[in-house]
Symmetry: C2
């Protein structure tokens, strides 16, 4: 047996003993926090701790005599390696023939079986899927036993970092104003009270930020809004007086995070309650008093949050301009040193972070930097480790995807560098990626158009040589919140049907990933803007917010149209104009060269 | 009161008397035949007869003291004109705030009301919508009273044209082969028997064609398929011995069309039945024996039919080549005569038809020709009448959209002509329409991509100047069947989610329609072809099947990319090569000029 698996297998044994005690025939373990955030604090990474599988997505079910891991294509190879010897079988998600967890359990378990899960770690949607799948065999799902908590002796504590006010200078709207808008929408929908569960929605509404996790300045909290009151359920130790005072000004009362279950259990039955079955945990949803009429759906804050106001857009532009200056400093440093000093993926990542850290209003990075040289660039979610760390050479592409959290906004930028000669194929790939990015940026579209209808404007450029990238073309971006902010998205999924409207921010980041060879990705953040309204309808378009040069050396000019070439030259003109004042003399000179018209 | 309305109003009075007799509080009247075909025979045009509204889409509900017409944006202006003085109110479909007919009736009628409809003229889907909407108020929907039949004294008879065999030379597969494929799919789905209701599906399966309507060579018929038998329900007088003999060879037994209701009412309860709630009438669906388990969904024939086999594709290409020669003869005639003889929209339409009629295997036109000069070209579904008939001049665009039914395939082509000077705006519009058509034609795409994801490749070229066309970009095309053949489609509707696969045929026809000024549309039929399969997936593309020159004089060359320009030149080379042998000397010379490279 693989030695690395010893902790895993002893953890599995401990869990199985506990399962016996509780007479569970199966137990489900996830990495979700109770708000179903993209990034969970370490405390919630139970699946990783139990199974040893470290992928960012995946759920595990354990039986007495085996188990299953459900994860997607990004992690099939890694999962097989990390699960070897554990007796846990891989179920490949997003493949039509793979059963869901509820389907598999319903099929496999005997009638009247009992399944356990920490109900905080699955959302209400998944719970309802279980209930439907289990009814025919009368299988019971128990939400109230956190068996992992019983066996994980050195489990990291729930985060305790304090929250701070996010000034109206950055948010552009006070909590009072935001509450008024939400209450107006509630009134239109005849909703008496709304439970807001998504952490970023709560942070946005309360104009606060926190520090629960490394890349997302949020803090576990719920908001409960009615016409009469606005409650913030949060650990009271996390709330300093300055925040408490500010919240009180806007009529917000703080209550203990742990008291929400009791609160919803005793709601008055004459008022209905709306909540999101995606961001609300099954445990909480099942605590809601049975006398209350519940409505499931979007809980208003998200819709208001994703359409940025003028202040947010201007602050975000400032953040992106400053971020661009850090990226230029990094580019200059790279080019100056790549031939003379050893630069590695990790040293580059650290250098880039050090430039960002010097900027005003910097909070943290917004995700784990992807700095991949050569074949590492083809791994879409690569993160360099001391073991994988490659030297950056001059005979291949170096892909760097990184971003920062600033009080004014969240950034996310990818540039692909080369410091030597490239093959014809590399140049074609690079140019088509650039072409796709520009073509989407230039697209004008009728109101009502959604991401899945726009995606081909970028991806189609790459499809022309019969190459595809196995991810979306872009995602929404928050204001010092989630770097991946929905519901707007650019992808081929017909579920990405949220119409883009002015004020939304979204990345465009097509790519080419040649496994074992290299990756190319170029990524900017765009904002959706209104163009015109006429007898044919209302037309929108994009404006680029990200400011940083795009390497021109790898471009095959003939593959760009005249309009695409002009776009690039105009963009570089703007980059030079905006960033030059933020650079030192040598960097300025370098930028002038880097932004020269082609 | 408008005199023209007298027949309408006396018909409404007659209907209201009948409604009183039957105690109906509302009565629904449609233009649908029992198979819910695109083109109904005249017998079924009850809504048109009753209301005087002549649009191709729309349903009418009559109350004792008023009524409503539900139709879409193409007909708002026409509907208001034609309904004036009738007391029938317009309900604008495809506008979010407009209630559906079931919603409106459920809201408006008192509890325990009674609504009537000829159940043959609404499909089962609409019936289920009614049942859901009506349940709360216990409103009854009666399907069995054809009140229009009782009052429409000179109602046209149900069509009686005989059917004929569609030879395997054209269809490429015998009914025996088609039945075997359907039975295999049924077995996979554990379906015991399937009712095929869509006329074109039945024609395709039985390798027959008919003559019920002017533009669609079909005949009212149903097929009922099980593993043991294949039944064709059709008026026995329509089936000559040659067809009967051929059907028998393939194991098909004919039964009287009118006996199907009884047949489904006495189905054995041990076998399930699949049918389409879209093409099956509510009356028939409700006659199915209650003991039978029914499955609603696609009934196999459609899926087989829309993916053309090699014979069908090659026959269709032959039909399109011949059709192209007729179009070229027409173009030559137009240009020769437009300055010297009076040409009108109607004389052009007749001339074009006369060229088609001379071709081998010509059956009929495939739809009512749209020949619109100047502002008539902006009316998307214009059909010239003696009253509207305009002379074709040389100072504007002349848009001609036409097609033929040939035994080998259905055609549909639009070209926009100009015989004099054009404005800059006209040239821009023309060039962007052409650009959109070429860009979509050149698009390569990953398997799984649907029409709503591809649409922007054509439409986006027109959106760039903030203009939109209020219709789809393209539709499937049949083999001597429907000129609009689903489910494949190119449009912005997210419901057009049918992935395109090799063998499908589809039009691409972007346009610009400037109300009161002119219309521009250029339309070709494409086939979907396989391009390659590699580590990134399976890639498809398009090949153009339509062959006829595209006017080059209006083109602003700088608005086309190099690739688009080469495409046009290559296309014209092929057009000249394929069509020259089919033309006389003068036409050949004209074609050589018309296809000169730009």
């Amino acid at each position: 047996m693989n030695n690395a698996l010893q902790p895993t297998n002893s953890r599995l044994s401990a869990l199985r003993s506990k399962m016996k005690e509780h007479q569970f025939d199966a137990y489900l373990v996830t990495n979700s926090d109770p708000h179903h955030s993209e990034y969970s604090a370490d405390h919630w990474l139970s699946r990783k701790w139990l199974s040893g599988f470290t992928g960012s997505a995946g759920d595990v079910v354990i039986y007495q005599d085996g188990g299953g891991l459900w994860t997607d294509g990004r992690y099939f190879i890694q999962a097989v390696e990390q699960l070897q010897g554990s007796g846990i079988e891989l179920f490949k998600r997003r493949i039509a023939t793979t059963p869901t967890i509820p389907e598999q359990l319903a099929q496999q378990l005997a009638p009247n079986s009992k399944v356990g899960v920490d109900g905080r770690t699955i959302n209400q949607n998944l719970y309802l899927e279980f209930i439907e799948a289990f009814s025919a065999k009368n299988i019971e799902l128990v939400l109230t036993q956190d068996l992992i908590g019983e066996i994980w002796s050195d489990r990291p504590a729930v985060p305790t970092a304090t929250v701070f006010n996010h000034a109206v200078q950055f948010s552009g709207a006070s909590t009072t104003q935001k509450l008024a808008n939400i209450r107006q929408s509630m009134q239109q929908d005849m909703v008496d009270q709304v439970l807001i569960s998504a952490i970023d929605d709560v942070m946005w509404l309360m104009n606060i930020r926190g520090g629960d996790t490394a890349f997302f300045p949020g803090s576990q909290a719920y908001a409960m809004i009615s016409n009469e009151q606005a409650l913030l359920f949060i650990d009271p130790h996390k709330v300093p007086d300055t925040v408490l005072t500010e919240l009180r000004i806007h009529g917000v009362t703080c209550q203990d995070y742990t008291s929400l279950g009791d609160y919803v259990a005793h709601l008055c039955s004459t008022k209905n309650l709306k909540y999101s079955p995606i961001s609300t945990s099954s445990l909480l949803a099942n605590q809601i008093s049975k006398g209350v009429v519940t409505l499931q759906g979007r809980t208003y804050a998200q819709a208001e949050k994703v359409v940025k106001n003028a202040t947010e857009l201007s602050q975000m532009q400032k953040a992106l301009t400053l971020d661009g200056s850090a990226v230029v400093k990094f580019m200059y440093w790279l080019e100056e040193n790549v031939n003379s000093h050893q630069i590695t993926e990790l040293s580059a990542e650290h250098k880039l972070r050090s430039f960002r850290q010097q900027l005003p209003y910097y909070v943290s990075d917004s995700f784990s930097t992807i700095a991949g040289y050569a074949e590492h660039g083809a791994i879409m979610h690569y993160s360099a480790t001391p073991a994988s760390n490659k030297s950056v050479g001059t005979d291949n592409f170096f892909l760097v995807d990184s971003g920062g959290q600033y009080l004014g906004g969240t950034t996310d930028i990818t540039r692909t560098f080369s410091f030597g000669e490239l093959s014809e194929q590399q140049k074609i790939d690079y140019t088509l990626v650039l072409k796709g990015m520009i073509r989407l940026t230039q697209t004008k579209f009728l109101s009502g158009t959604a991401g899945c209808q726009l995606d081909i404007m970028a991806r189609g450029a790459i499809w022309q040589q019969c190459v595809d990238y196995k991810c979306g073309t872009g995602h929404g971006v928050g204001v010092c919140l989630n770097v991946h902010e929905g519901p707007q998205n650019l992808s081929q999924s017909l579920k990405d049907s949220e119409p883009l409207v002015p004020g939304m921010t979204i990345t465009v980041e097509p790519g080419v990933y040649r496994e074992g060879e290299y990756g190319v990705r170029i990524e900017n953040i765009l904002k959706v803007v209104a163009i015109t309204e006429n007898q044919f309808g209302t037309f929108y378009g994009f404006e680029t917010m990200t400011l940083a040069p795009i390497a021109t050396k790898p471009i095959i000019i003939d593959l760009l149209s005249i309009e695409e070439r002009s776009w690039l030259n105009d963009y570089h003109l703007r980059v030079a104009e905006e960033l030059t004042p933020l650079l030192d003399q040598q960097e300025k000179q370098w930028l002038a060269k880097a932004t020269k018209a082609i």
